[in-house]
């Protein structure tokens, strides 16, 4: 009988393990701050949290490198007299649980006066309270879920800011989804949409706002699906898309699943354009879907194309000169601006206190970030009463010749 009970045990373990798919956490070690600067100056640590390993590595490393560049630039310019900035980057693997652990760790390090990150809205949800309790400012370069800043009832107009310490330089899905819907319906003239999402905070939110606007414009939703982004077999979904007769697929989710999904949908023979949000706007998407399958696909992203902005020229030149191994990707500019917002705030606090850090430096920095206003890489950077960026620019990118090219830029007008 022992054999059978072992079999039952292992089956139970399997079932349990499946629900915990891909959980786990790892920390960057050996980077802890000791708080001492050279020459008796002040060292201010800026924390960073992003997925530095796992499927979203490309986006995460772009965020990390850009923040690193901002810190180095500030140090080189001696932008804040007497203050040396230091970046401590932690890996959240796109997992909310790791993000929360990292947040706790950053809060415990007294030299940390601000945090850049995270990438994922779902991760941000787990961090907000930890940071807010410690009055530690957090500026995300990439979170787009409106609820993070405007509260869970934002859609019905009841906007309420939950956490005073939370800011972001990326625009929200409340305008990104509808912006995509307008482009798809009015410019690309597609009327039958199949909507797919990954049930995560970001993906489901985006798909929801797209659907609302698309139907309002007169488009027809011919099917919906929810996928498990950890699986790679989307053949059943691809067949449904094909038989639904859709001419456009809107995917709310991220490129690691979107790439294979688009590949399988196109291969199934569906004549559709795959459209998604900023988490599809990565060269990795084209790689995973295959250049041929991805051709013509569309991703919206926050802000104007970086290459076209005057304010970005210095960033582009410096990024190149710094020889980072990885590209800055979709959120590099936002990450630079997020970091710089913290640097500006620290400058204001230090200069307002006779060149020293006040005792309640963290709380003062939160206040100062609320009031920052400067020309950043992505345009003018300042925050509204919810901590959202005042810059509501968005751009539509389309895969042409194997790479995303900007096709339309603008602000969403409701």
């Amino acid at each position: 009988m022992r054999n059978r009970s072992l079999l039952i045990l292992t089956t139970a373990v399997t079932a349990g393990a499946l629900t915990l798919t891909a959980c786990g956490s790892r920390d960057d070690k050996g980077k802890g701050g000791d708080g001492s600067g050279e020459g008796g100056g002040i060292t201010v640590t800026i924390g960073l949290d992003a997925p530095l390993t796992g499927e979203l590595t490309a986006l995460g490393l772009g965020i990390k490198n850009s923040a690193d560049l901002a810190v180095n630039t500030a140090n080189k310019k001696e932008y804040v007299k007497g203050v040396t900035f230091k970046l401590v980057a932690l890996d959240d693997q796109a997992q909310p649980s790791s993000g929360q652990q990292n947040a706790t760790k950053l809060v415990a390090d007294k030299s940390v006066l601000g945090v850049v990150g995270p990438l994922n809205s779902g991760v941000a949800e787990s961090m907000q309270k930890v940071f807010d309790d410690a009055k530690l400012v957090q500026v995300s370069p990439a979170n787009t879920n409106p609820a993070l800043s405007q509260g869970p009832n934002w859609a019905s107009g009841d906007k309420k800011r939950g956490y005073k310490s939370y800011f972001r330089t990326a625009t929200t899905d409340a305008i990104q989804g509808p912006f995509a819907a307008q482009y798809v319906f009015k410019d690309a003239k597609k009327t039958k949409a199949f909507i797919i999402d990954d049930k995560k905070t970001y993906g489901a939110g985006l798909a929801g706002t797209f659907k609302g606007e698309f139907e309002k414009l007169g488009g027809k939703v011919v099917g919906t699906q929810h996928i498990d982004p950890d699986t790679k077999d989307f053949s059943a979904v691809a067949t449904q898309v094909k038989s639904s007769g859709a001419d456009v697929v809107y995917y709310g989710g991220e490129y690691p699943a979107a790439g294979p999904l688009a590949k399988q949908i196109k291969e199934a023979g569906a004549k559709v354009t795959v459209v998604g949000g900023d988490a599809l706007f990565s060269p990795e998407y084209v790689k995973l879907a295959g250049a041929a399958a991805a051709e013509g696909d569309i991703a919206t992203s926050v802000g104007a194309p970086i290459e076209s902005l005057n304010s970005a020229k210095e960033f582009l030149a410096n990024y190149k000169a710094a020889n980072y191994k990885e590209a800055f990707e979709a959120y590099g500019g936002y990450s630079y601006d997020s970091t710089w917002a913290i640097i500006e705030a620290v400058k204001k606090v230090v200069e307002g206190n006779g060149g020293k850090l006040p005792d309640d430096a963290r709380a003062k920095v939160v206040e100062a970030v609320q009031g920052v206003s400067f020309e950043g890489v992505t345009g003018s950077v300042s925050f509204d009463e919810f901590g959202d960026t005042t810059n509501k620019q968005l751009t539509v990118y389309q895969v042409q010749g194997g790479a995303f090219k900007p096709v339309k830029s603008g602000t969403f007008g409701g």
Partner: protein, 309 residues
Amino acid sequence: MNELPQQLVNGLLLGSMYGLVAVGYTMVYGIVQLINFAHGEIFMTGGFGALTVWLILPGGTSMWVALPLMIIGAVIVATAIAVGAERFAYRPLRGGPRLAPLITAIGLSLALQYAVWVWYPEAKSARTFPQIPGGPIELGSVTIQTGDIFLVIAAPICMAFLAFFVMRTRTGRGMQATAQDPDTAKLMGVNTDRIIVIAFALGAVFAAVGAVAYGLKYGVVDYKMGFLLGLKAFTAAVLGGIGNIYGAMIGGLVLGVAETMATAYVDQIPGMEQLGGQSWANVWAFVLLIVVLLARPQGLLGERVADRA
């Protein structure tokens, strides 16, 4: 358009891949009564073995030349790791408490994942896998993708070969004998240690072929690909009756079809809208497993599990 035939084909294709990997679980279990939880990772390293061959080959090599070499590469890597695991991780624990090798297997599984993650160049995120050129095959309303053609051909060949090997060859009969009673088999002159190594190696060969099929089907390999697929294949092995190689294949096919059907049709049943879709497919797969195990604890084709208690 009636999509049922296409969905059935989708399910069968997914199921054949589960089946190929499930064979490795079932054979090892049948002979040493060990659930080799690292088998999913042996599958994964097979995928990276094939990718390595592709990267070594000069650019522009035709897929018709490259594919056989990639299969050989996958088989060599997966077999080497499986045989090494047997020799250094499982054999020292043979005869020890049952749970010891099980825990070792889970440890080995994580070790292999992170070894690839740390040492394989750029394996920290998904790596693209070369594709077969050419278009899909259309059979009436059913389309078979270019990437699936390999699976359509390889899976039946592999299964036929395995049936022949186990039923007709001396070694195969040795495996059957060892599975029935290792001590008596030893007394009859069967080298059981060798048989066990062969079981591990054969399982690895099948997993390697499965991994090449995975790469061609989905266009990517990554260090985590063995985890979920390994669990599914193990489920397929249990569903079919663990220890029975035909059961593994049947279990795989049933599981694949069940998942596909759950994705395509469950949310169309009135009142079940919230429980359908691809994100629920895993849940339905396990509901099916539990239902089968309640009705037939030995699995679809299994025999009495407790014959050696």
